[in-house]
């Protein structure tokens, strides 16, 4: 064997040895995203941000397939889920109950994971088998509904309230799920529920001008079919001096409530992204317990002032976000 051949062999060996170190994970993931309500789309933004922080760079090792204009009914979500399945997504990230059900249905018989955030009472909705052991291919972040508590916060801010107007369309399934707790709590809160069942935005808005004094408007979300009238509802409330409060929404956004008791988009998005990260790294959805989103109390001092209300320090002490 010549000296040249020996040198070539040694060089090749050094290359082999230098290549013994680990290589970065360059596996490309495709995430299909379905959002139930447009105003929940910030969750997606926050989700992507967290994913980036976790090392998933869009276009590099992750691709998101997301159409923000999907909806608003179950059929539309089912169709979108089917489309994403055809696009060979690796994982569904769903925001909302209907979208989660659509993804679950589309992935039935496969092991493609579905991570949701948020879903209220996912066990009752049939999305998972249990909180600790979801089973199947679906897990995510749940919301333990605290809408009634949110109304209690509102009543503490507006202690003179005698009536509450909580517009809802009985055809909105999720809304009715939330309303159930609220309706149960109202008797203990010492207020009277004004007729709130409406079928349309117009019908919802038409009521505002006729609301009696000492009434507050409480918006439970999501209110799917009435969503388009939420901003106008806030304007009507301000116009007629009817304090408006929300739950499960964002402070400082339409209808610009005085207070809002809610989970936060960044919070639930972060939780969801972390779950997606764990699942992409090998955790099985079936063994990944459903996590619970944190509730936060937000108050808007300017809005309160606009309605002539003084938020007590006791509330402010407990508020997570105070808009001044």
């Amino acid at each position: 064997m010549s000296a040249k051949r020996i040198l070539i062999l040694l060089f090749a060996l050094s290359l082999i040895l230098s290549g013994c170190g680990g290589a970065p994970n360059k596996e490309m993931h495709t995430i299909g995203i379905i959002v139930e309500i447009p105003w929940l789309s910030p969750v997606v933004d926050n989700f992507k941000t967290t994913m980036t922080e976790l090392g998933y760079v869009e276009g590099k090792n992750i691709t998101y397939l997301y159409d923000p204009n999907v909806g608003p009914d179950q059929a539309a979500f089912d169709k979108e889920a089917a489309r994403l399945m055809e696009a060979n997504v690796d994982l569904f990230f769903t925001v909302g109950t209907m979208t989660t059900k659509a993804a679950k249905k589309a992935t039935e018989g496969t092991d493609i994971p579905v991570v949701f955030t948020p879903v209220i009472n996912p066990v009752a909705e049939g999305v998972v088998e249990s909180i600790a052991q979801p089973g199947g291919n679906v897990t995510g972040v749940q919301i333990v509904d605290h809408s009634a508590k949110a109304l209690e916060w509102a009543l503490k801010i507006a202690p003179d309230t005698k009536y509450v107007y909580i517009p809802y369309n009985p055809d909105d399934t999720i809304t009715m799920l939330i309303m159930q707790g609220v309706l149960e709590a109202i008797p203990s809160l010492g207020v009277e529920l004004l007729p709130s069942e409406v079928k349309s935005v117009d019908e919802m808005l038409a009521v505002v001008s006729a609301l009696p004094e000492d009434t507050l408007i409480f918006v439970v979300s999501p209110i799917s079919s009435l969503e388009t009238g939420v901003e106008q509802l806030g304007q009507e409330a301000l116009k007629y001096g009817v304090p408006i409060f929300t739950c499960n929404r964002e402070i400082n956004t339409p209808p610009f409530p005085i207070s809002n008791y809610t989970v936060t988009f960044p919070g639930e998005a972060q939780q969801g992204a972390q779950m997606v990260d764990r699942i992409l790294k090998g955790a099985k959805p079936a063994d990944t317990p459903v996590e619970t989103a944190e509730y936060y109390l937000d108050v808007d001092l300017k809005q309160a002032q606009a309605f002539g209300l003084q938020i007590p320090d006791e509330i402010l002490n407990q508020a997570n976000i105070i808009v001044r």
Partner: protein, 754 residues
Amino acid sequence: MKKSLLTRLTIYFIALALLPLLLFGLISASQTYNTQAAQALTGQSEVAKRVAEQVNSFMQLRENEMYLLADAGNLSSLSLDQQESLLNGLFANQSVYEELTLTNSRGRETIYLSRTKIIETKDLVSRAGSDEFEQPKNSGKTYYSSVSFDEATGEPYIIVSIPLFNLQNGNLSNVLIARVHFKSVWNIMALADATGNGIVYMTDADDFVVAHANPSVVLQKKRAVLPPQNSFATGLDGNTAAIAVETLTLSEQTFYIVAEQPATQALSLAISTIALTLGAMLVAIVIAGVLGTYAARQITTPIGKLAQAASLISEGDFSQTADVQSQDEIGRLAVAFNKMTQQLRDLIANLEARVAVRTQALSSVAEVSTAASSILETDKLLQQVVDLAKERFNFYHSHIYLLNEAGDALALAAGAGEPGRQMVAKGHAIPLNREQSLVARAARERRGVTVNDVTQAPDFLPNPLLPETRSELAVPMIVGDKVLGVFDVQSEVVGRFTEADINVQTALASQVAVAVQNARQYDQTQSALAQSEKLFQASRRLTQSESLQGLVASAVEALGITDIDRVVLGGLDYGAAGELESMTIIANWSKNPDLQATAVGTHYPQAVLSSISLFTSSKPLFFNDMWNDERVDETTKALAKRVNYRMIAALPLFLGSRQNALLLFEGAQPHAFTSDEIRLFNALAPQLATVLENRRQFERAQKEAAREAALNLINQKIQSATTVEAVLQIAARELGHALGAPMTVAQLSVKDKN
């Protein structure tokens, strides 16, 4: 499977390169492992302690908050509204406190605040009897519950309760009970400065994980298996990890802060060292392998060439040479090998030539032997052998000597060519004891002897018939242990005969000897057959003899010995006591009328018989020459000379145990009786005795019958006489005729005529 030399040498090179590296690597890795393992455990222990302190601080902070609220606000002395308002302040830290409850001294809830639930007055219950009330009440100290899990969220929480005392009287006024969310502790775990990819988690006394950076671990209610002491053990994820455990005690509750670091990371340096060592070993293997192979090839390639050449040579290709050009030991070995091969080549060529010669010789031996074995006549056989041997072996001359019957001389029996025939004709013979004779010496010493330059032999006598003889080889012809003769070959070339020639000619001589032996045995067999025939014919003649004279004549004819001139048959007479009295010649035969045999009727009295010993011998006696035979007494010799006979055979004839006759064969010339003749004599003797006796009996009976017949005739004639005178005349005539009397007188006397 046997490894090749190349493989073995390469392995040795690799082993030599590897062993020190391996030893160094093992020691280094071991030390690194031990050091890093200790460092890892120490590091994890520090992490666990630090986190334990953080958790403890966190819980202390909660406790302090509660005490501060109670003490600073003088909570016990406030109204319910004031108390509620004050307690709501704790919810400012809403992520920690989920519920706050204030009981009175009896345990009755007076205030119940929740961040998630709407509490009505009717929801207030008594906590009397519960640990969270009774323990702080009784101990006056903070109470910590075990960790519980929320039904709706599955998240863990802990109950912390503190006793509040009336400052005036020191009695228990209230118990403040807080449900503390453990998620904040999760954050401590998540933010813990764990080493590398390490994790920190917290377990309760039942080993349930109650705080972990990964919520799933807690929500799954996963249980950890903690080692009894800080060590490398199975971690929470099932993989080996450096695990350090720090105990955290909150009131009566015990928790464990566990810091884990995957062993692969904790021991990364050791693993790197091992990997580096392995890598270095791999490089060493490759380098040693390459260099070893190169070096081994330097050794094995020429050896391989040598081996290949040797292999081809072993298969018969002697033209092969080892093509090794190096000047080292192997090169020298190759040179020596090639020299050896050349010598071997020459040797084999020489051997082949010798083998060819030997084969030719053996072929010639076989041819001569075959020819010899096919001839049953000894003379012809020997002549054929010498002629063929001379021709086939290209000898100058060859001849065969046979040992005579006396065994004292070697007579030339056959010689090749004209010189050989002349020498045979001359009756050339060599005494066995002649010292200077090569032929005699071969017979004496029973081995082949050679003189490769006869001109240098001091006692060499040139043979004028064979003037060109320069070397000579004589080999004995031996069958069994008997020397039959000597096969002598000569060459006109000095140094012609080698040891191989001795062996070849000895083999030939042996086979010729066997052939001679066979021929002789054939002759003997033929002779025996002829003798048997002769005996048979003699027996037939003897039994057909009509008289004793004819019997004797038949005996002579049966023996067929031409030297016999006369024969006499003497009948022996014995006295009443059985003693020999006399012998009477009862029959004779003579070949020549001029030399008549003793007449029939000649009587020899006992006195004569006793003086001639051969007459009284009980055994056959054969004298080749009576006149010169020491066995013969002087009387007999004188008698023999007187009657002019020299050869004699005395054959006593016995009937039973008694000799009844003696048959003497006489010849005027000496005659050497052969063994065959003697055997024939001995075989005929009993038959002669029997025939003789029968003849004598027959003749005796004939005589008796004739006498009786004569008497009867006389009697008949006498009875036919009618007168007395006629009777007398007839009696006298017949009796006289019968008795052979020339004159017979018959007298009749009358006693009383008147």
